[in-house]
């Protein structure tokens, strides 16, 4: 059975003029990989992904669900193996700290050495982020999780 590792994770704070909402909005950005997926060079494959989008409250709501993976043993933080195990409450506390220490999203989508970019060709970053935030807000109101993956992606070094 495969397991997943969150190698790196941080929160990015979106500028108010970018999302147009009253409350602060964040992206939870993660470098993740599966235990049984390898690159041609034999290294475990990793990729950057947007884990959650929304207000701090919405990010925590998502982290509560994700934290279950640490309870069941299918999710690791930092690296696979015993040193990567966390308790669910430790993960939620980590995410809370990430939100508190969120990196501001810079020009052209750069934040903490990764780049947030629209997935759809021809779509601008502002439009993509607005669409993402709005889409996720509607999904959250409907108590549905993870509907923001379409408009934005993350590029960055995976080593």
């Amino acid at each position: 059975m495969s397991s997943t590792c969150i190698y790196k994770e941080f929160a990015a704070k979106l500028p108010a003029d970018l999302h147009g909402q009253n409350e602060d909005q964040f992206l939870l950005v993660s470098l993740v990989g599966e235990s049984n997926c390898y690159t041609y060079s034999g290294k475990r494959a990793r990729s950057w992904t947007v884990q959650a989008v929304g207000t701090g409250h919405m990010i925590i709501a998502d982290a509560i669900v994700a934290s279950r993976g640490f309870e069941s043993g299918g999710l690791y933080f930092g690296n696979f193996g015993s040193s990567g195990t966390l308790l669910p409450e430790q993960y939620i506390a980590k995410v809370r700290r990430m939100i508190k220490n969120a990196h501001p999203l810079g020009e052209n989508g750069w934040v903490n050495n990764v780049r947030i970019k629209p997935k759809e060709p021809g779509m601008g970053l502002v439009a993509a982020i607005k669409a993402t935030v709005e889409k996720n807000r509607l999904a959250f109101d409907a108590r549905s999780r993870g509907h923001f993956f379409d408009p934005i992606g993350v590029e960055g070094c995976v080593d």
């Binding site: 409250h57 925590i60 709501a61 998502d62 509560i64 669900v65 934290s67 279950r68 309870e71 069941s72 308790l87 669910p88 409450e89 430790q90 939620i92 506390a93 809370r96 959250f140 108590r143 549905s144 999780r145």
Partner: protein
């Protein structure tokens, strides 16, 4: 939604259960690590015992504690759920469960743990006996009721055999967990004025140091 206050907690464990006829040693270890966690909650009526979570294998509902915008941890986070009137955030709430002392299932004299599951008719044979895990459906203590192409099995988890039936048999629908009073006697274990038998549906939880309990 009404505010939920947790008054007491109970974690049911299986360390002292008789494992003499175990086919699979790892299932013994797994059973020793397994708990079923309940909280006595008051909301808009008499206090009732609600199922919170289990780490048992096999199709148990994991939404009760970790549910998205609905689990007990989330309810604690938004202040809807309190523990003895005290608010706590999600991580404190989840962590507080580890501090609850485990009550062994063999020491439960006035209530018992019931697992109810729906299985399809084609899976009946697997439910009734499994050579690999070494269990057989105990007709003396368990019941099986048919609803068309679906069967509902009710299993009191009172011995290792029934533990295996309740956890190892796969079910397409999440299994339901109930704390049931034995006979009509008011169970001292559960306290006074407690509406007992409660099917676990929604999440409930609390967080706090166990000194509260």
């Amino acid at each position: 939604m009404n505010a939920i206050n947790e008054l007491r907690r109970m974690r049911i464990g299986f360390k002292a259960i008789d494992y003499a006829n175990a086919n699979q040693g790892y299932m013994v270890n797994e059973a020793k690590r397994t708990t079923f966690d309940f909280a006595l909650v008051e909301s808009d009526g008499d206090p009732v015992w609600k199922f919170i979570k289990t780490n048992a294998r096999g199709s148990f509902n994991d939404q009760d504690l970790f549910g998205f915008c609905s689990g007990a941890a989330y309810e604690a986070e938004i202040g809807l759920r309190t523990v003895n009137g005290k608010k706590m955030n999600a991580e404190t709430y989840i962590g507080s469960w580890r501090q609850v002392q485990v009550t062994d299932v063999t020491k439960m004299t006035d209530s018992r743990l019931i697992v109810e599951m729906d299985v399809q008719d084609k899976d009946k044979e697997k439910l009734l006996a499994d050579d690999y895990y070494g269990y057989t459906f105990d007709w003396e203590t368990c019941s099986l009721v048919g609803h068309g192409d679906r069967l509902t099995a009710t299993i009191p988890v009172i011995n290792f055999n029934n533990f295996l039936v309740a956890t190892c048999c796969w079910s397409a629908e999440p299994k339901r967990v109930v704390l049931q009073a034995i006979d009509d006697a008011e169970p001292t274990m559960l306290g006074n004025r407690i509406g007992l038998i409660e099917l676990v549906t929604a999440p409930s939880v609390c967080d706090e140091t166990m000194s509260l309990f």
